[in-house]
Amino acid sequence: MSAYVLAMAGLKVLILEAGRAYDPLRETPMFQLPKDAPLRAGGTPDKPFGFYDATVDGGWRVPGEPYTSDDGVDFKWWRARMVGGRTNHWGRISLRMGPYDFRPKSRDGLGFDWPIGYEDLAPYYDRTEALIGVYGSNEGLENTPDSPNSTLLPPPKGRIHELLLKKACDGIGVPVIPAHRAVLSRRQDAALASRICHPDNPRAARILAASMGNRQACFWATECGRGCSIRANFQSPTVLLPPALATGNVDIVTDAMVREVTVDPSGRATGVHYIDKRTRSDRHAAARVVVLAASGCESARILLNSMGSSFPNGLANGSGKVGKYLMDTIGAGIGGQIPALENAPPHNDDGASGIHMYMPWWLYQEQLAGKLDFPRGYHVEPSGGRGMPGAGEFDGLEDFTNGAYGRKFKEECRRYYGTFVYLAGRGEMIPNEDCYCDIDPEVVDQWGIPVLRFHWKWADYELNQARHMQKAFAEMIEAMGGRVSGTVETDGGKAIAKPGEIIHEVGTTAMGLSPDTSVLNQYCQSWEVPNLFVTDGGPFVSNADKNPTLTILALAWRSCDYLVDQMKMGAIG
C-alpha cells in the first residue's frame, strides 16, 4: 500500500521483496480439483493451508529461514516469500476498528490508547475500501462502524447455514449480520472510486480507474485463498501493484532479503542492506526515505539487526520497545452438526468462498458493567455448507454413524454432507510484557541474518475470553438444534489457539505520543530517525478483534500522505 500511495504522489519507489516474482493471473489454480493435487490438496508442512493455497515458500516455516521460541513456547510465525506477501493469503475479512478500539485504556484501564482516534483514520478507511473493493452492509451497531454507501459493494445473501445461525441467534440476542470482505460482489464504479481515492490528483485517478477496469466481479467459485486470476478479491499483485507500476515510478527487485537499515553520522537513514538471494551477495539500496513494510515481526527484526555504536540495541529503539507488546488475535472455536441441514436439496453453496455473515461483538455494555471476566471483545466467523469436498471431508464420521461402512456409509455421507458448522472466535488480547520478540543470540538464517526469538505468555484476560467463546458457541449450536462436536472446554488454555496461529501479529513497533514509550509517532514515523517509517502491523497499539489488514492499509495510506507532505516541505529526505 505504501508503494502505491507514494508512487501515485509522484515519488520514485524501489520495492525490495524478499521472495520471488508472482503473477496471480498466470499462477492461480482456479477450478483445479483436489483430486489432481498431492494428498487431495490437504495441508502438509510444505503447504500448511493446503496445496492450492497461494503462499509461496512459506507458511509456518520458510526454507532456510528459521525462528526460535522460548522453552515451552510454540509461537507460530506465518510468512510468505512472494510479491504481495501475505496479502495473497488471508480471509479478506475487512472490519473497521471502531471508536472504542482506539481508546481501550480509557475504557477499561488496560493496555494503551492509540495516539489517533477513529475520526483520524475514518477518511482513510473510506479511501481504502473504495480502492480495494469491500462488500458488506451498514447496520449502525455499537463500535462497528458503517462505511460510505457510495462505495460499499452489496453483501451476498447468506448461505443456508448462515441463515439458520441468524435465526437461532436472533432468539438469544446475538447479532448475525453481513460480513465486510474485500471481494468484488459486483464491479467497482471505477470513475467514482478513483475520484474518492485521489480527489486532487487526476493522473492518479485516471491510472487507478484504468486498473480497476481490469478487475472482474466475483463469479462465485473457487477459494479466495488460492489467489484470484480475475482480480475479484483484494491481493496486492492484482490491485495495488498494477496501478503503482503504471505510474512509471515503481521498480521491484525480488529475491532481496533486507537485513538492516543504514544511517549516516547524523542519524538519518540512507538506505538498506539486502542479500541478493540469487547471487548470495550483499547489496545496498540508497534511499531518501526508508519505509519498512515487511510484516510486524520482520520489520522489528530489521530494526533490531540494524545496530550501530550510538544505537547498540537496534535502530529507532531508544524506547526499548522494538519487538515488545507483540500481539496476536485470540482464537478458539467449536464445531457442531445441524440435523436441520440433513438431506437438504442439492444446491450450489460456494458463494464468495469466505464468510457472507458474521457476528460482531455484542456484549460491550455487559463488559462495561463488569459482568464478564475478560475485558475485550471478540467476533465470530461461522463456516459450513456444501463446499467442494476436500481432504478429510468425512474424517471421524463414525461418531455419528456407529462405524457404518458399505452401502450404509454411502448413505450416511449423503446425509451428513454439508451439515457441519464451525464457529471461530476472533478476539482481542491485552498487550503484555511477556509477549515479545527479540534477536536470538545464537541462530542465523541461511543469509547470515540473526533470527527472531519469540516469547509468550497468555494472561487470564485471554484465557477467560477463550473459555467464554466455548460456552457461547455451544449455546449457539444448540440454539440451531445442533449437536456440539468434541468437548466444550472449560479450561481456556486448552481452547485457545497457539500464539501466532491466527496470523495477526502486530504491535512490535508501536506508535504513541512519546518517544520514551513508543517507537513511532502517530504517522508511523520513527521518533529518532525522521526519514524512517514502518507501515505494516507493527505500529498497532492494540489489536482489536477486527482483522488487521484493512487497518494496516488505511494507516499506511495516512502515513504516506504525511510522508509526502514532509518531503514537499523539505523536512525529510
Partner: protein
Amino acid sequence: MNDDRPGLDRREALKRMAAAAATAAVVPTSDLKGQSQPPAKSPPAHTAGPRGTPSDPDLVRPVIPWPRLLTAGELQTVAALCDVILPADERSPSASTVGIPAYINEYVSAPYDAQRRELVQIRGGLAWLNTESEKRFGQPFVGLTSAHKHEICDDICYLPNARPELGSPARFFARFRDLTATGYYTTEAGMKDLRYLGNIARPSWDGPPPEVLRHVGLS
C-alpha cells in the same frame, strides 16, 4: 474511463519488473566500501515461479513427486477393503474403480512425518487383516466371500464397540475408512454422488433456492 485493453497493465507490470534490476539504485556492498573488485555480475532480472520445489510447487499443473511404497499384494488388499467400505450402488461406482487404492498408496508414501507414521499403521493393519482372514477362513482377505469380509469388518468398524484386543485393528479401520472417503468423495464420481454443484462460474449469487429454505423452515 477504462482506456487500457485488458491485460495491458499486467504486461507492463512484467516489463517493468524485468527492467527493475537495471534501473534500481543498487550497488554491491563491496563497491560501497571502495574495494577495487568489479561490480557483481547482474543476476537475472527476477526469479519467476513456480520453481517446482516442495514449498513452491506448480499449482496449476500439480505433480505428485514421491515414489509409491505399497506392494502389488498390499494394493490388492487395499482395493478389496476400499470396496467393502464404499461398494458400488445405484448412484455411484465402487472405490476401486475410481482409483482409490492409488490414492491410498500415494498418501501413505508421502515424505512427511505424519504419513510415515500412518504408513506403518496402514501396512500393519493390512497385514493383520490377512492374518485374521487366514485364521478364520483359511485364505487372505481378497479371497473371502463378501459375508466373510463383513464378519471381520463388523468386529473392527467402530472402536467403542470393538473387543479390547481389537483396538489396533479398529483404529486402522477408522483411519482407512477416512482415507477411502477422502479419496472417493474428491473424485468427480464422488462429488456427483454428494450432489456437489459448485466450482462453476456463475453470473450472480442469489442465495439458497426456495426449496432449501423450505427444507429448514426458513421460507
